[in-house]
């Protein structure tokens, strides 16, 4: 699972941050209201609302899930069930730069695994899913990113980078340092 290493014991959740800033207040509330207007039922705004939480906080904590549940009239357990289904929602903080390397078959036969290894080497992260010692990088293997003709595609945070090779990795990493 993205952002989740083997070190996380099953079922453990992070303690709610004492300084959690609500997402759906002020401008955030207005944005949510505009979204809600597009769906006949409040739950339709759930995925968009979760994106808003992740955009603001970098991940979706239990407190974030509870806030979303509250504003949409859903139970927190329901929201958690949805968050844990979709792999792009981070349930734990990730490094400052989150790298997703596609290694599914079309990219795999074009050397994607070597691209992933090059990222690990260039960033110092020891293995997939584990944040690098300087806290800056988390690299994960992901499934098909839908850019198979531009192997190997890589996402660095929200940036979609095409045609990455092991050789082009160090320069790419340097760009973010």
């Amino acid at each position: 699972m993205h952002g989740r290493t083997d070190a996380q014991p099953h079922g453990r959740t992070e303690a709610p941050a004492a300084d959690y800033q609500p997402v759906f207040a002020g401008e955030g509330r207005k944005k949510l209201d505009a979204i809600l207007a597009k769906y006949p039922a409040k739950a339709g705004a759930l995925l968009p609302a979760l994106w808003m939480v992740q955009e603001k906080h970098g991940w979706i904590s239990p407190t974030g899930m509870a806030e979303v549940a509250e504003v949409l009239g859903l139970t927190a357990a329901y929201v958690k069930g949805v968050v844990t289904f979709y792999t792009m929602y981070h349930q734990h903080p990730v490094g400052r730069h989150f790298v997703q390397v596609c290694t599914t078959t079309p990219c795999n036969v074009c050397g994607a695994e070597k691209v992933g290894e090059a990222f690990l080497k260039a960033t110092g992260a020891k293995r997939y899913g584990e944040t690098s010692p300087d806290g800056q990088w988390t690299i994960v293997e992901v499934e098909c990113l839908g850019a198979c003709g531009f192997a190997t595609p890589v996402m660095i945070n929200d940036e979609f980078v095409e045609s990455v090779t092991p050789e082009s990795v160090p320069a790419l990493v340097a760009r973010y340092k």
């Binding site: 994106w51 949805v82 979709y86 599914t104 079309p106 499934e143 198979c148 003709g149």
Partner: protein, 431 residues
Amino acid sequence: MGFPHPTHPRENPVLSRHFGEAEARRYDGWVKRGGYRALEKALGMTRDQVIEEVKASGLRGRGGAGFPAGLKWSFMPKQKTKPHYLCCNADESEPGTFKDREIMRWTPHALIEGCAIAAYAIQAEQVYIYIRGEFTEPLQVMQAALDEVYAKGVLGANAMGKGVRIDVTIHRGAGAYICGEETALMNSIEGKRGNPRIRPPFPAAVGVFGCPTTINNVETLSSVPHILSKGGAWYKGLSLSNPKSTGTKLFSICGAIAKPGNYEVTMGFPLKELLYEVAGGMLPGRKLKAVIPGGSSVPILTAAEAEETLLDYEGCVAKGTMLGSGGMIVLDDTTDMVYQVMRLAKFYAHESCAQCTQCREGTAWTVKILQRLLNGEGRTEDLDLLLDLSEQMTGRTICVLSDSCAAPVVSAMKKFRPEFEAYLTKPASRT
């Protein structure tokens, strides 16, 4: 266009004509290229006339199922007692497929226009375009294009001033291949886990939010403006082999091919020619070993079979595979078939929604058996076990993800069995 390569003379660039043209992404640029005239025309026809035109064209779903689009639209209730919805499936996650992203990032207005025409035809006032979460550029480009058309009054409460409401909203996915399955997509729009639904009821009766819904693929909808402009008969005439497969198709060619990209050819085009002539043939020094023509969920073809295949729905079925999404994965003689089948099984195991027992447990078990095989720890019984599990994973579940995991296993074992058997005697390899 064999984007990002120059258009090959044997291509038929209907959808892809303007790929790579930055100006085409903007409303003015698109209108200059003939855009939104089809929508204007459609809004002047009756809804039934629009449906008939699409039926006459023979357009079939380009997402993989190949269901006749006009027929699907006609399933919507004629008497509207509840809101109707159109969902555009832009979840493109089938390994090997990367055509919808190109349509969206180069010709967003083509998709918007197609959505608007379809919405009008099925009496839908709200369209949801479900774009997978990873497609950050298409998301941006599509939203910018939508903002433009709203500002211009092309969409909204009074679309093009014709007294019809057409609203289009982008719904961003969050990382789930299964949400490309039409009923899972609807659940995802409703804010649920992306679980496919049992049928009946079917979407045209009970879709999103309990209302009649039609779901169409990006490529399907983007074809609609051309059909309205040039006529269904024109589209029907674009057919090189079987008259039941008409129009053009974007083939996403990837893998060990010299010029990977999206190639648009008329239905029925010979696969051999597409591969060797249009897409530049194999990478230097490599030989064709296998082709998965329609995205990873369809049976694998040997090189010999592939070279005899005509690329339309019937042509692929005749060869024991399917056209699917047209995501063509080209595998060469350096490919370890066993390893790649394992990697595909891993994909399906990762993406299983967990509802059906066979899929939830079977995909993971398949991966384990293949990994052991690759590690030199396989047993003879494992090969038959894989086939037996695959049989029980086919046609037994709510959706076909389970079948999709079985397809490469079964076809690879049938056609490349010696490679599997070699692992039984080989010492430990990589996992």
